[in-house]
């Protein structure tokens, strides 16, 4: 266990004012160690995406303290300490696949000579080496999302934030992508915060699953996934995997008692 990349103490987030006020998060305490793969799971409206955006300084907390990579979240963003992947790939249509991966490198002022090399390296990492000159609309949804992952990792951030990245993919592609993301995680050593609403996905990927409940969003449980680090098709059929899936499901039900399960 290395130094924590995320430390949240008593985080609260309120959107709007007066009658339109909504409490999205309340009393969030969370610590994510370097190299961890942490999934945030919970019903819609539990604030899991909001929590991810707080870590990325895309929104600001109303209360509590948040430290990302040892600094204020705003400073961590300015220092480009994290890469982010959204549910939609958000690739730029007018750029080739390679130029899309180079986008953050251009903005961050990487030398002209280094950008193409690094972009190709990242595309090889997500096994899209042969598609550098394609345009995003020529790729399938899963391939587009792999480009988004390559783009997010191109500048070697300490932290990778993923907001339901495989939510729009079909089941087969989704499982392949999960395998892919684990391989990339193993090769880069980046810490990952992964928002999902899929229980099997959370268990399969994570070292730790953070279970949240809604209205207001709170952490209701944390489950350490003690599956062996190397995960493959056999993992999905292991008894311990099923036990953990049930454990997370129970935690979700417990957190949602009185409210519908999602």
């Amino acid at each position: 266990m290395s130094a924590p990349v995320v430390e949240a103490r008593g985080i609260g987030k309120v959107f709007g004012t007066g009658d339109a006020e909504t409490e999205a998060l309340r009393g969030i305490d969370l610590e994510i160690a370097g190299g961890d793969f942490v999934s945030l799971i919970g019903p819609s409206g539990c604030g899991k995406s909001t929590l991810l955006r707080l870590i990325g300084d895309l929104v600001s907390p109303t209360s509590g303290t948040l430290v990302v990579n040892g600094k204020e979240p705003g400073q961590a963003r300015l220092d480009r300490d994290y890469g982010i992947v959204f549910q939609s790939a958000t690739l730029l249509d007018w750029r080739s696949v390679q130029k899309n991966v180079e986008l953050p490198l251009e903005i961050m002022g990487f030398p002209d000579a280094e950008r193409p090399t690094r972009a190709r390296e990242m595309l090889d990492l997500v096994q899209l080496g042969g598609f550098a000159d394609h345009h995003p609309w020529q790729l399938s949804g899963g391939m587009q999302q792999r480009v988004a992952i390559a783009r997010a990792l191109a500048f070697r951030p300490a932290l990778l934030l993923m907001d339901e990245p495989f939510g729009a993919l079909d089941e087969m592609t989704r499982e392949a992508m999960q395998q892919e993301v684990l391989r990339v995680w193993g090769e880069t050593g980046t810490s990952v915060v992964f928002v999902t609403h899929s229980i099997p996905e959370a268990v399969f990927l994570s070292t730790r699953v953070v279970v949240m409940s809604a209205r207001p969003g709170q952490i209701s449980d944390e489950i350490v996934v003690d599956l062996p680090p190397k995960r493959d098709l056999d993992t999905r059929e292991a008894p311990r995997y099923f036990e953990l899936v049930i454990e997370v499901r129970e935690a979700l039900r417990h957190g949602e008692s009185g409210s519908r399960e999602s």
């Binding site: 994290y82 959204f86 939609s88 958000t90 730029l92 007018w94 903005i107 609309w137």
Partner: protein, 281 residues
């Protein structure tokens, strides 16, 4: 290149086909309405609706006694008007783009200025044109530049409105992505918003190209500028009862000038789209 040639050939064919259909309708109307003795909605006689071939032949007859043929004179006039229109188009396009960028950066500027921008377009161009000519004269601007400014007045509006829409078109997550890179507003503008706005801007430029030709033609009248299409169109419309085919022939030339300008913009658009993204459909 082969694809481009085929596209041009196909476009040429369909334009020709429509022209033939139009001629058939025109002549057919004349034939039937004359035979039936009908006079509504338009009298079919040669004073009101000259034969299409008379209009066509007018193009190749001398404009003045022993002068060069009509088509040469009017094409030269069209070229002059197009030049004024083009300068106005560039000025108006730049102003429109600038306003779009200003408004996307500052909601306050948009709220303050947008009503005036919209109001500016409800003022008829025939009211604005003489003012611009008088002011331009006081400021010692060359006459053609006053005409260009009138063309710019019609050009800037569609560009401003569409640029603003286009700059706002990127999805919020794309904006979040740029924020996650700690990018400056300038980088967001040039790497995300402007490329995303290009299809909107091209649409506006096509509208503006046509509008700038109208602006230049109308602007030539109060400017009293000779040698352009405006003066000739006015003159031919005054001679309409005596020689109607001249006005029709001049309108044909003016239409061709507008098509040429819009065609140029469309060609640029195809180049940009071809290089950057899939063609629509």
């Amino acid at each position: 290149m082969g694809g481009a040639n085929r596209r041009v050939a196909r476009a040429g064919f369909s334009i020709l086909a429509v022209a033939v259909v139009f001629v058939l309708l025109w002549e057919g109307y004349k034939l039937i309405w004359t035979a039936m003795g009908w006079e509504n909605p338009v009298r079919p006689d040669d004073r009101t609706m000259p034969h299409t071939w008379d209009i066509f032949l007018t193009l190749f007859q001398p404009a003045q006694r022993n002068g060069p043929p009509f088509i040469l004179v009017e094409l030269r006039a069209a070229l002059m008007t197009l030049r004024e229109a083009f300068v106005g188009f560039l000025i108006g396009g730049a102003v429109g783009f600038g306003l779009g960028v200003l408004f996307v950066r500052s909601t306050m500027a948009e709220r303050a200025f947008m009503p005036y921008v919209v109001a500016s377009q409800t003022v008829p161009i025939i009211a604005i044109a003489p003012m611009v000519v008088v002011w331009g004269g006081r400021a010692n601007l060359p006459q053609w530049l006053s005409v260009s400014l009138i063309a710019a007045y019609l050009t800037f509006f569609p560009v401003a409105i569409n640029t603003l829409r286009g700059l706002r078109s990127p999805h919020p997550t794309s904006m979040e992505l740029m924020r996650s890179y700690a990018s400056t507003p300038r980088e967001v503008l040039w790497k995300l918003q402007v490329p995303a706005a290009m299809p909107y801007i091209f649409t506006a430029l096509k509208v503006s190209a046509a509008a700038s030709v109208i602006g230049a033609i109308v602007g030539e009248l109060p400017a009293g500028l000779r040698g352009g299409l405006g003066r000739d169109l006015l003159q031919f419309s005054q001679q309409f009862t005596a020689a109607p085919e001249k006005l029709f022939a001049a309108v044909l030339i003016a239409g061709l000038a507008g098509i040429a300008f819009v065609g140029l913009i469309t060609a640029l658009e195809h180049r940009w789209i071809g290089a950057n993204r899939r063609l629509a459909g």
